[in-house]
Each structure stands twice: as structure tokens, then as C-alpha cells.
């Protein structure tokens, strides 16, 4: 099983207290595809906070299949607090979600900006507070 590294493309990755960091390699590859310091030009991405990986969900969730990751903070600020204010946090969240759409093995891409599954619009409640990314 692969692990999400503590640094991705120079961006620091922090983990919540209960996060079990066991994922398939494709999740790591998907993060490497969209977690970059300059993902949103003019708005440096320094740090993300992983709130869930292989934990806090029940089968058959993709999390419990090691195929999903949630990110709930950007540069130390909760998405649920900062996103409605616009600015850098919104720009970065929007850019991460947009970038993940070009990842070949993408499945779900749910967050404040996009709600897509397999590249198609997919209405789903919630996800104003974190980005949920999963792979096939």
C-alpha cells in the first residue's frame, strides 16, 4: 500500500489526528497532479490538511477501498471558513479541483467549486467544507 507523502511538489501535507494514511498509488499520483505551489497563479499553495484517507468511513466507501482522500484546509485555513470570503483560498481550491479533472484515473471530484464524477456533473449534497478526490 502507498502512503501520501508529507511533502508533495514542495507543498507541506499535514494529517488529521485520526487519519490512516494507506492509499493506492493512484491517489498519490492524483494528488501530485494537482497539489503544486503555483497551482493558482499569484496565490502560493504552501500547505494542505488531509482530513481523511483510509478512515472514518464505512464500507463500501472508496475511502475504505484506499481510493479516496479528503482535504479540508488550505494554507492553514479551513475551507468551510475561508472559501466564502474568496481570495487566495478560493482561487487555490478552484484550481486544485480544475486540475484534478485532467488526471487520467479520476473518479469523484467534489468540493465547493466542482461536483463531478467521471468528468460529468454529479449533483451531491455537502462538500462546501472539503475537497473529496477519488480514483477508479
Amino acid at each position: 500500500m502507498a502512503h501520501i507523502p508529507s511533502v508533495i511538489n514542495g507543498v507541506t501535507v499535514e494529517f488529521g489526528a485520526g487519519v490512516v494514511n494507506d492509499v493506492v498509488q493512484s491517489v498519490v499520483d492524483g494528488l501530485a497532479h494537482c497539489i503544486k505551489p503555483s497551482i493558482a497563479p499569484g496565490h502560493p499553495l504552501v500547505k494542505i490538511f488531509v482530513s481523511s484517507a483510509f478512515d472514518s468511513h464505512t464500507m463500501p466507501s472508496r475511502h475504505m477501498q484506499h481510493k479516496a482522500v479528503d482535504v479540508s484546509r488550505i494554507n492553514g485555513t479551513k475551507i468551510v471558513i475561508g472559501y466564502p470570503n474568496g481570495g487566495s483560498l478560493k482561487a487555490i481550491v478552484d484550481a486544485i479541483q480544475a486540475a484534478f479533472e485532467s488526471f487520467g484515473n479520476k473518479r469523484e471530484n467534489f468540493g465547493p467549486h466542482l461536483k463531478k464524477k467521471l468528468g460529468q456533473e454529479h449533483p451531491v449534497d455537502g462538500h462546501d467544507d472539503h475537497i473529496h478526490l477519488s480514483v477508479n
Partner: protein, 160 residues
Amino acid sequence: MRRTPCALIVIAAAAVLALGCRNGQPAPAESEAPSLTAALSALTGTYSWRDDLKRYHYSAKPELEALLAARNREDTVAALVECLDNTTQSGSTLDGTPVALGIVCYEALTQLVYHEPTGRDGDVASDWPGRLSPRPSPAEMRAAKEAWKKVVATKSYSFL
């Protein structure tokens, strides 16, 4: 300095919280709920529709964050879930009229944790009774509480 009644209530709630701490540790669960709900009831936030977000937005989220940061997280989750069906009027409003205290508790709960319901295919389910709009029916509030109680029982939530 002249203080408003709401400000006095917030100060009183903070004092109750401070007295509830021992040796710098958060108060135990049984004393968490009364002071927390009093503080939440005293908040004077407003809900307004945001076209850009496609949902209602609560104005007092920074104040909520300050309240949540001072407390034991697990005890706070349990107390907030217990409050979800509370129909008592709060100091927060939508369109000029008070929203139920349970809605402010829901706002606090979903600023602290989230739950992702799962469909049979393993993907995130499209809807879930644990979600509430700012003006729900009492039945919807009860259903949300029951849904969240199951989430707490299975520890299937994540801290934001």
C-alpha cells in the same frame, strides 16, 4: 462602556465555560451541553442566500470558530448532535426572523466535522437526511439528529 443584553449573555456563557475547566482541561461531557447551547443561542448571526455559493451563508462563522476552539472536540460533537432537534428560537435570524437553536447547533457541528454518506457503489451518496437547511420542519430536524447519532455511534465522521 455600555453593553448590549446579547453581549452580556455571551460574557456570561464564557464565564460558565471558564469555570467549567479544571487544570486547563476542557469540561467533561455532562457540563458541555448547557454552556455550549447557551453560547450558541446568544450568537446574533444572520443567514443570507449567496448566489455564488448556491446556498445560505451564516455570518457568525468566525464567532462559532472561537467557541468551538475552546472545547473538547468529541464532547462538543456529542452535545451538538443532541441539540439538532431543538426548536427553541435562537438569536440568529433568516429574513429577520429567528432560526431554531438546532440550526445554529447544526452550523457549529458542520464547521467542526463532516460525514460522507456512501452509496451502494462505494461513491459518495447524493443525499442524506443529516443535512439541514436554515428553515427545516421539526420532522426534518429529528431525522437529522437520528442520522447524526448513527454517525457518532459508528465514528464515521472527520474533523475539518
